[in-house]
């Protein structure tokens, strides 16, 4: 099944998620080969437009597109006409007039990718919108778990930290629960949305209870740029209570995976020993990100009946 846009994992079917994860396996083989390139998307153009800073997601999308032989355009907002006051939709329509096929967008406002997908002809991929979703991060986290654990169904995954502001958390929750994992959110109550239980997760405000018997700990970044409302007293106190160090990893299962979507605040939500330790798959997540994004780009295109020639 080909799909046109990837906006949320909430709206993505279980079957589509499984297809992406399955194809990502093949694409991972390709990116580990000496010639890391296939000609599949030759002649297609992917535009990365990031209204928020990003290193790994933007680079990852760029590499994924290039390894499928697509052309890639990166638009840096700080040097674009956006600073002259051009509206979002005008910027995108201008770019689209240059004959592009995919738009990868990150924006600080939730819902922007959906709005775009309703207003332009290209395929839209959400690379993170506000506090809403970051579907490809959710997919690459699931792919990493699947690769390391051999399954997702029945696993206990603890997502630790600032759940309230986290689009990574939301995409993980939607995806993982669809695939049958038990998802817990762990953090200070001020960083956990009141209605989060409706998404089918268990809520823990005590780290020890929250990590008990966990197969995976996904540690979220404390978004220092979003902590202006004093949701916890001090960074130091947060690090003491919820920062994951070697001692606290022991609360979970001995073979528990340590994940982090990056960028890390070492010494705050994760200690360097844990980040670089044996159970950490953080670098693996980055590698898998390219493979998963290749699978997404591959599945989104094509199937345009009106272009049938033979």
């Amino acid at each position: 099944m080909a799909f046109k846009h990837l906006i949320t994992l909430q709206e993505t079917s279980k079957q589509d998620i499984l297809d992406i994860l399955n194809l990502a396996k093949t694409f991972k083989e390709i990116i580990l080969k000496p010639v890391k390139k296939v000609p599949t998307l030759k002649g297609k153009t992917v535009v990365n437009i990031f209204y928020e800073p990003s290193t790994r997601t933007r680079t990852s999308f760029e590499l994924a597109a290039k390894r499928l032989s697509a052309d890639v355009l990166n638009i840096a907002i700080s040097t674009s006409s956006v600073v002259k006051g051009e509206t979002l939709i005008d910027t995108l329509r201008t770019i689209e007039a240059m004959q592009i096929d995919y738009v990868v967008i990150r924006h600080s406002v939730s819902g922007v990718p959906l709005f775009l997908s309703q207003n332009i002809k290209s395929s839209v991929i959400n690379a993170g919108d506000g506090m809403h979703e970051h579907p490809t991060q959710g997919l690459l986290d699931m792919f990493t778990i699947l690769e390391k654990k051999g399954k997702i169904e029945g696993l206990t995954v603890a997502i630790v930290g600032d759940i309230a502001h986290s689009r990574v958390a939301r995409s993980n929750i939607w995806g993982l629960t669809k695939l049958g994992a038990k998802v817990r959110v762990v953090g200070p109550s001020t960083l956990i949305p009141k209605d989060i239980r409706k998404l089918g997760v268990d809520v823990y405000t005590n780290l020890k209870d929250g990590l008990k018997d966990a197969d995976v700990i996904n540690i979220l970044r404390i978004q220092l740029e979003r902590q202006k409302k004093n949701l916890f007293p001090t960074i130091r106190e947060y690090a003491m209570l919820f920062g994951i160090n070697t001692q606290k990893v022991k609360y979970a299962k001995p073979d528990c995976l340590i994940m982090h979507p990056g960028p890390m605040n070492r010494g705050i939500e994760i200690s360097p020993n844990v980040a670089d330790g044996k159970q950490s798959v953080i670098e693996e997540q980055v590698t898998n990100g390219v493979a998963v994004r290749m699978a997404v780009l591959y599945l989104m295109g094509g199937g345009k009946k009106d272009e049938v020639v033979n």
């Binding site: 080909a2 083989e29 010639v35 094509g302 272009e307 020639v309």
Partner: protein, 183 residues
């Protein structure tokens, strides 16, 4: 979506397939003056099974283990925009060097020639073979590219509303000529 079809004739049974592959193996050895520099690469799906069979027969004749690899050409096809079902890609696996080798590329049915074209692109990414030769169990005609097989099991003239079905590696091995029914 399953196509509906009507069987017109059985072209080969498992015995006939075996005899045909034996003859092809002899031709391959004859043409390449032995099997020392050969590698056999099958195109998924079914080409890989036929490749394995050819290697077994060559081993019986020459006593040499010819390396066998497999390629998946899905990502190299020229019909990405036309193709709606994209679920299955199994990946390629050539765990040896093909540099300077005589590569026998194997598929079950040769039709438009587009699969063989994509197959050559895949092979060339793995190295620089001395030669690439094409072996197919059935050649059904209707070429759309200037491609010709070096070894052909059987040539079957077909019309475009017919199809060749090869069931190899399954319980009852056979080659069928069928007519696609319009619905």
């Amino acid at each position: 979506m399953e196509k509906n079809y009507k069987i017109k004739s059985e072209i080969m049974d498992s015995q006939a397939i075996y005899r045909t592959l034996t003859r092809m193996a002899h031709e391959i050895i004859e043409k390449n003056k032995g099997a020392k520099n050969l590698v056999i690469i099958g195109i998924r799906k079914r080409g890989d099974i036929i490749a394995q069979r050819l290697a077994e027969i060559i081993k019986k004749i020459e006593g040499i283990d010819v390396p066998v690899g497999v390629i998946d050409i899905t990502l190299y096809r020229d019909d990405y925009d036309l193709n709606k079902s994209k679920k299955e890609i199994s990946g390629s696996d050539i765990p040896f060097s093909i540099d300077g080798k005589d590569v026998i590329m194997v598929d079950d049915v040769l039709f438009a020639g587009r699969t063989a074209r994509a197959g050559m692109d895949v092979l060339i990414e793995y190295g620089r073979p001395k030669t690439i030769q094409l072996a197919v169990l059935i050649d059904r005609g209707h070429r759309e590219l200037p491609i010709q097989a070096n070894y052909v099991g059987k040539s079957i003239p077909t019309s475009l509303n017919e199809e060749i079905i090869v069931t190899i590696g399954e319980q009852k091995e056979k080659v069928l000529l069928v007519e696609i029914e319009k619905n």
